[in-house]
Every structure is written in structure tokens, then in C-alpha cells.
């Protein structure tokens, strides 16, 4: 079983979000980029576990981005994985990203594609399901547990208002969230090994973006907190009813 893990680079969770050029560009000054936590902690680590257990024969990592995405993919290689592919394209349009990944995957016969449930920057959570559609594969979203026996994959996953356990034959695409695996910390051996692992750059496919971000806006600032005495919860309830009108 060959696994392809989709890796996205995102601003660190503590990064200050600011925009420049009249609110049309995300200001990356002073921003540290990390591997999208869902891709790293869950999708990647589970893929590595499957290889360690003998269920998978190869784990490849793919990212869609320009050269500045390479430090992050090296970091991912330090955790494990046999090789990485950077598809040279600059886009935040989910369809373009998915079409690029699907193009590559189609030519290289992966049995399983793993990704995080969403990236923490654009929060679309769309690439996994799009890749599945473009490869005509099944898609199981929000996995909390993935087991493989032969060519049958069992996935426990979140559904609207509950949980479901599914069985599906390979090939398929799975988006991962908490529960799938435990985050790992790269060790020195992994970091050294990552330096010499193959990182192949392939040209992006000729795909027209179907969306573009035209601007950004910060949420309105709160007008200030109204403090209520701990002995006056009747007052709080009254304000929630008459002023905030939420109860």
C-alpha cells in the first residue's frame, strides 16, 4: 500500500494576523510557518505508523507551493516519510491545489491519500474531498481512527451529531482529526536523515483558478466588557435578556 500525505504550510497558531496593501495581502512579516497541525499530528503520523506496522510500503509527502514551502516539507520529512514532492504552483484556490495533487497522484498510483481535516489558515477543508472526486475515489472525512487489514480500511469518524464506523476497500481519501494518532517530535536522527531524502519539484499543471481572494477584514473589536458582581447573577440574566437579547 502506497500512501500519499498532503502537507500544507500555515502560519503558527500564535501568529499575529495582519494585512497589508490596503487589506488585500496577508502580511507574513515576522510570521513563522509550520506544518498544518491536522496534516502533521494526525495524517502524517498515522501514515508513518502504518508503514512501521508493515501495512504500508511507502509514505510520500506532497505539498503545493513555491520554494518557500520547502523548509516546512523538510520538517515533515524529519518526522518520517520516504520522499517528498513539491508541486510548483502558487495558489490558495482549493480547486487548483486539489487538481494539482490529483494529477500527480493519478500518475503515481497511490492506494491511500491522507490529509488533515482542514488547514488552519483558509479553513476550507475542501482539498481532500476534491482530490477524491477527481480520482473517483471514496472519501471519508473527519476520521478519528484508521485501521487497515489487507485491502480493507476501517475508519471511525465524526458525522453530524455523532460517530460512525465505516469499512471501505482501497483506494480512498481520508481526512484526519484528533484521535487518529498522537503527535510526534522529530528526533536528531530524523532531522539529519531528512536533509538527504529526495525532494522532487514538479511543475504545476495548467489549471485555471476558479476563486481568488480580493480582500481581508478583521472582526469588529468588542466595545469593552461590562463587569457584573458575582452576587448579582439576576442582573446578568436580565442583561442577557433585555440588552443582548440572547435568552
Amino acid at each position: 500500500m502506497k500512501i500519499l500525505v498532503c502537507i500544507s504550510q500555515v502560519p503558527d497558531t500564535t501568529a499575529k494576523i495582519a494585512f497589508s496593501d490596503n487589506n488585500t495581502t496577508f502580511n507574513t512579516q515576522g510570521v513563522t510557518f509550520i506544518i498544518n497541525p491536522y496534516d502533521e499530528w494526525y495524517a502524517l503520523v498515522r501514515a508513518l505508523e502504518l508503514k512501521e506496522s508493515g501495512a504500508a510500503t511507502a509514505v510520500h509527502l506532497v505539498t503545493v507551493g513555491k520554494a518557500d514551502a520547502e523548509p516546512v516539507i523538510r520538517k515533515a520529512l524529519a518526522l518520517g516519510g520516504d520522499e517528498a514532492i513539491r508541486i510548483d504552483a502558487d495558489s490558495n484556490d482549493p480547486y487548483s491545489i486539489a487538481a494539482n495533487i490529483a494529477d500527480y497522484a493519478k500518475a503515481h498510483n497511490y492506494d491511500m491519500v491522507l490529509c488533515g481535516k482542514e488547514s488552519i489558515d483558509y479553513n476550507n477543508g475542501s482539498v481532500g474531498a476534491m482530490v477524491a472526486e477527481l480520482l473517483d475515489m471514496n472519501f471519508l472525512g473527519f476520521a478519528a481512527k484508521i485501521d487497515v487489514a489487507g485491502t480493507t480500511v476501517t475508519v471511525k469518524r465524526e458525522i453530524d451529531g455523532g460517530e460512525e464506523t465505516d469499512a471501505c476497500e482501497l483506494p480512498l481519501v481520508i481526512s484526519c482529526q484528533k484521535g487518529v494518532a498522537e503527535a510526534r517530535i522529530p528526533n536528531m536522527r530524523g532531522i539529519m536523515a531528512a536533509r538527504t531524502k529526495p525532494l522532487t519539484v514538479v511543475a504545476g499543471a495548467a489549471i485555471t483558478s476558479v476563486t481568488s481572494i480580493t480582500g481581508y477584514e478583521m472582526p469588529p473589536a468588542k466595545s469593552g466588557v461590562k463587569m457584573i458582581s458575582a452576587d448579582n447573577m439576576d442582573e446578568l440574566v436580565k442583561l442577557l435578556h433585555t440588552e443582548a437579547k440572547v435568552i
Binding site: S126, G179, T214
Partner: protein, 324 residues
């Protein structure tokens, strides 16, 4: 025509789907067209007709016993069939666990641009620009869809649901489904019964490390029961297994936008705020006057959660009794 995917639970349409129909009907009016809803599985004609009161003129109904179990492949195929039948220029769904699996498939199939997690109506004066959450609620982006067909998944709880007048016509639709569309075998389904799903809840009571341990959660649960609210928690609480991880809200958990979010014993780290700052009203109860959450709150109460929360529950009970 605008096509909107509607979801039901045991034959009753979900409130967030009514919201999606209203949303579609708002766009349809602006574009001078109508709304066709797409319903699947076991749902009665009379229930489908009620979608007329939310702005749908027609409901396309695909009945197939296999659709009772969710399959993103099959659902996407039905939505695409409906869109093609109606020559739809805009397709609307929800940004929930169902929509996040179906709408990207629909968009990819039609090579259409998708705005996932819309929190506003499309601005037609600027192409087709839709506002959405980015950076886990820390900012908004305006996304212009440039393809001919446009796909939008709406963030639940964005717009109020108001019932109007009208009745929709119901038409059966054959979607050409095959066994290959149902190759995922569902082994087991467990749904939380009775309680309000967190993503749809209008009122949420949430707890953090300040509650000291899972044994103290009964005070939050009593308040939630009195309010009819869902319960949530911060990441350290989920990590420590005090609460199920489905309750975790924040940057790496769920994003919610209830009308009222009551945060108890949560300091308000930036990662937590990211998941909840779309809430209309925030109440913070914390014993630390320096807790950053107070800066993001509308109402604050300083003091010990174990004393304050029961008092608040009592006050709510008194208020509810006075209402009746």
C-alpha cells in the same frame, strides 16, 4: 436557478438546512431567479412542501434506500444531477460534516469555484464575492468566484431562520446511482440523543482548566440544562480527557458561532478565541482578573466558578419561571 442541498434527521429538515434555503432564496431574489431544493432519502411530501415557507419553489426528491447511509459520492452525484437538470448557476450547501464532504466533490466535478464556510451573501456588484472565515475566525476573507457555476457552503448559525408563507412543489428525480456509489459499508452509527449538536447550538456553556477536574462539570451541565444549551470545552480539557474531544472548540477544534457563549474557567488564549469569537455575545466567568478572555467578552464575572455558576443557574431558573 439556485439549487440547495437540504439535510434531514429522521424525515424532519434540520434548522440549519432551512437557513440554507433562506440564504439561497435571498441570492435568488437578487439574481432574479428561483430556488430548487434537493432532498434525499426517506422524507414525506408534506415535509418537503414546507420548504416553500423558506423560499424554495420546488423540491427535487431522490428516493433510494441506499441513501439512508451517507455516501459523499452518491450525495454529490445527486446534487450534480439536480444542478444540471435545473441549469443551476449557484449551488448552496452547508459547511458541516455532510457539506464538507459533498460540496467540494460537487465543485470539483463541475470545475466550479467553492467558497467553504460563507458568512455573508454574495456581493454581485463585485463579481461574485463572498465573505468567509479565515485564520480560524481571526479574520475574514472576501473570495470572488470566477467560474461560471458557483458553489457556496454556508456556515450554520449565520442568519436567523424566519418562517414565511408558501408551499413548494415536489418532483421525483432519478439520479442514475449505481452500486459503485455506495461502496462504503457503514458498520456502526452512534448519535448523541436528545442533546443539541454543538455546531448548531444557539447557546453554549463551555469550561476550561479553571474547573479543576471532570468531577466539577456537573455545575456547567446544570446551567446548560437550565438554558437548553450545548456544552463545550477548551483544548487542555479535551487533551486531559476530562471531556470528549468533540466538545473541543478553538483553533484546532471546532469553530462555533452561537448567540451566547458562556466561558467558565477559560483564560482565553488566542487559539481558543479563534474558535469562538464569532459568538454574538460572550460571557466570561473567571477568578483571574488578568484573564485575556475578559478583553474579548461582553459581560464578565470575577470569581470562583464553583460558586458563581450555581448562582447563575438559579437566576436563570427564576427568570424562566417568571417568563411562564
Amino acid at each position: 436557478m439556485i439549487v440547495v442541498l437540504v439535510e434531514h434527521s429522521q424525515g424532519v429538515f434540520k434548522k440549519k438546512s432551512l437557513e440554507a434555503v433562506l440564504y439561497a432564496s435571498h441570492i435568488a431574489k437578487e439574481m432574479g431567479t428561483g430556488v430548487t431544493a434537493v432532498a434525499m432519502g426517506n422524507v414525506s411530501d408534506s415535509e418537503m412542501q414546507t420548504l416553500g415557507a423558506y423560499g424554495a419553489q420546488k423540491v427535487l426528491h431522490t428516493t433510494d434506500a441506499r441513501l439512508d447511509n451517507f455516501s459523499s459520492k452518491a450525495y454529490a452525484k445527486v446534487v450534480v444531477a439536480a444542478a444540471q437538470k435545473e441549469s443551476a448557476k449557484v449551488i448552496v450547501g452547508l459547511h458541516d460534516t455532510t457539506g464538507k464532504a459533498v460540496m467540494p466533490r460537487v465543485a470539483a466535478r463541475l470545475q466550479a469555484g467553492l467558497v467553504a464556510g460563507a458568512v455573508g451573501y454574495p456581493d454581485l456588484s463585485k463579481g461574485f464575492t463572498v465573505k468567509k472565515n479565515v485564520f480560524s475566525g481571526k479574520a475574514f476573507a472576501f473570495v470572488n468566484i470566477t467560474s461560471d457555476t458557483k458553489v457556496i457552503s454556508l456556515m450554520p448559525n449565520t442568519f436567523p431562520v424566519v418562517k414565511g408563507e408558501g408551499s413548494a412543489t415536489v418532483e421525483q428525480m432519478e439520479a442514475g446511482l449505481s452500486d459503485a456509489d455506495f461502496s462504503v459499508k457503514v458498520l456502526e452509527v452512534s448519535k448523541a440523543s436528545g442533546s443539541v449538536p454543538l455546531s448548531e447550538a444557539e447557546l453554549v456553556v463551555s469550561g476550561g482548566r479553571g474547573l479543576k477536574g471532570p468531577e466539577n462539570w456537573y455545575v456547567l451541565e446544570a446551567l446548560a440544562t437550565e438554558l437548553g444549551a450545548a456544552t463545550a470545552c477548551s483544548r487542555p480539557v479535551a487533551d486531559a480527557h476530562w471531556r470528549p474531544h468533540g466538545e473541543h472548540v478553538g483553533q484546532t477544534g471546532g469553530t462555533i458561532r452561537p448567540n451566547l457563549y458562556i466561558a467558565v474557567g477559560i483564560s482565553g488564549a488566542i487559539q481558543h478565541l479563534a474558535g469562538v469569537n464569532g459568538s454574538k455575545t460572550i460571557v466570561v466567568i473567571n477568578k483571574d482578573p488578568e484573564a485575556p478572555f475578559f478583553k474579548a467578552a461582553d459581560y464578565g464575572v470575577l470569581g470562583d466558578a464553583m460558586e458563581i455558576v450555581p448562582k447563575l443557574t438559579e437566576a436563570v431558573k427564576k427568570f424562566k419561571a417568571g417568563q411562564n
